[in-house]
Amino acid sequence: MTGVEEKQVIRGVGLGLRSRHYDELLAGTGQVPWLEVLLDNYAHGDGLPIRQLELIAERYPLVFHGVGMSLGSADPLDARYLDAVMGLVDRFEPAWLSEHLAWTSSGGRHHHELLPLPFNDEAADTLVARIGEVQDRLGGRMLVENSSGYAAFKASDMSELEFVVRVLEAADCLLLLDINNLYVNSRNHDFDALEFLRGLPRERVAQMHLAGHDDHEHYLVDAHGSPVVEPVWNLYAEAVRLFPDVPVCVEWDRDVPTLDILLDEMKTAGDIMMGAQPGSGGMTSHAS
């Protein structure tokens, strides 16, 4: 961990910060222990969003999460964007910075969507180089998130697990393990999510994500617009057994609900983190 990370304690169940909840969070509603900031919402200008984030930062420990860095693109990193991100990191000193194992731009054109990579040496090397650039600027390790994917490339010659582990080890970075993405991919690509979990290097799992997805019958889409479903809670319970004490963040991006709904999701995650068993009849303790 970097020196920055030591300044803030990120434990338990955090929440993805959304502007709808500013007032309640500033009033201390829900006793949320930490917040994950989608830094793309703050990477432009120095106006109201930044002022609001300053108020939030006075009250909550923060971690930063990005979408637009395009770590997996064959293009060089976008210097303007990276400068903006680093400016925010310097200003707010989040516990850590995370991004996705994906690409969002090519040929200088930004697609504003997380796009899939082939699982091969070239893509892994590209990621490792880009992560290295970011970590050099950070002066420490960043987190990278396993992305959801709806395409399989002929150019892939390894599994997603092999790919992720290779990038983590070669870049010496940490993993933001998105449980929902893992579940979505395991359904869409027909692999064993538990086997994936068991294959991860424990010491590199630094944070987890929980979110909802859309079920299109033949495939799932990581939409972040609905509650976490029971199979994902079950998978999370397994992840907690394998990676105890790793903080988890509840994300909700589309049709963002009232804070009380998110607090309910956080409570469920917290119960599981404390050893309760997910199930339709409520939580039961493993110890009972």
Partner: protein, 277 residues
């Protein structure tokens, strides 16, 4: 190889339709998934990119979306997506070229005020995240400096300011959408005169003010960075006697109308300070 693969995938995202050659070319790089063939995989991403653009533009240009209707706005957003490549990683910048794009679409010519409505909404959007004004000078310091050397100082509009001179009453139209008068049968009087508008943020409040015709040239002059002396001339109150040096100071008593005008600009929050040129 990765570059070519990503290039092909990118072109498929913006293809006219699923039968497009670029979709077929990108599909060549894909394997079958258990329950998805390659075109279906690409369709998910094509849809996601289109939805992201439509939602983002809809958040920046909500009145424009209401004016044209949901289906038409989605069509315009998809045309924009294909026609104007996004060059910023920052999604907040995605609408920068939208007003000019709207103005270029012949099929929207029945709404001649649409492009200016988009310019107004872009100004409001940008005001939200624009930087804060510089700290004010100590009382009297700026006024004295400007009075002493009006050629060497310029006034500053708020960093959040956008000036818009429209041939249409677009602020009136925008306000009718804000307070939902449109739901009570309000319609735009197309014969109504155009409006000059200043959008700016004062503290946390974003304003869109109508500007009087007499003040408009002064604001334009300030926005172009011209020296204070130019605005004083425009105010019609810089009454130098013939042959008097341009370097001479301003007599406050002789130039009361000028100072009143300038005070109005400050009081309204339109001008936030000054700086030496």
């Amino acid at each position: 190889m990765l570059r070519e693969l990503q290039q092909a995938f990118s072109e498929a995202l913006y293809a006219e339709g699923p039968e497009s050659p670029s979709v077929a070319a990108a599909a060549e790089n894909l394997d079958l998934m258990p329950r998805l063939d390659a075109p279906a995989s690409l369709a998910i991403y094509r849809s996601a990119v289109g939805n992201c653009m439509t939602e983002s533009l809809g958040e920046i240009f909500p009145v424009c979306a209401e004016l044209v209707g949901e289906d038409c706005f989605r069509t315009v957003a998809n045309l924009y997506l294909r026609g104007i490549p996004s060059r910023h990683a920052d999604l907040a910048r995605v609408g920068d070229a939208f007003p000019e794009f709207v103005a270029s679409l012949d099929f929207l010519s029945r709404l001649p005020y649409l492009a200016d409505t988009a310019r107004l909404e872009l100004g409001l959007h940008n005001a939200y995240s624009a930087s804060w004004p510089p700290p004010p000078h100590a009382p009297g310091v700026l006024g004295q400096a400007i009075a002493d050397e009006p050629e060497r100082w310029r006034f500053l509009l708020s960093p959040s300011a956008t000036l818009l001179a429209s041939a249409h009453p677009v602020l009136t139209l925008w306000e009718a959408h804000q307070d939902r008068r449109i739901e009570g049968g309000w319609t735009l009087d197309r014969r109504a005169p155009g409006e000059r508008i200043l959008v700016f943020r004062q503290g946390a409040e974003i304003h869109a003010d109508l500007v009087e015709p007499s003040l408009w040239p002064i604001l334009l002059s300030i926005s172009e960075g011209e020296p204070v002396v130019k605005q004083l001339e425009l105010a019609g109150a810089l009454r130098r006697s013939e042959g008097q040096s341009r370097d001479s100071g301003i007599n406050p008593e002789e130039n009361l109308p000028i100072l009143t005008t300038i005070e109005v600009l400050f009081e309204r929050g339109w001008v936030v300070g000054g700086e030496p040129i």
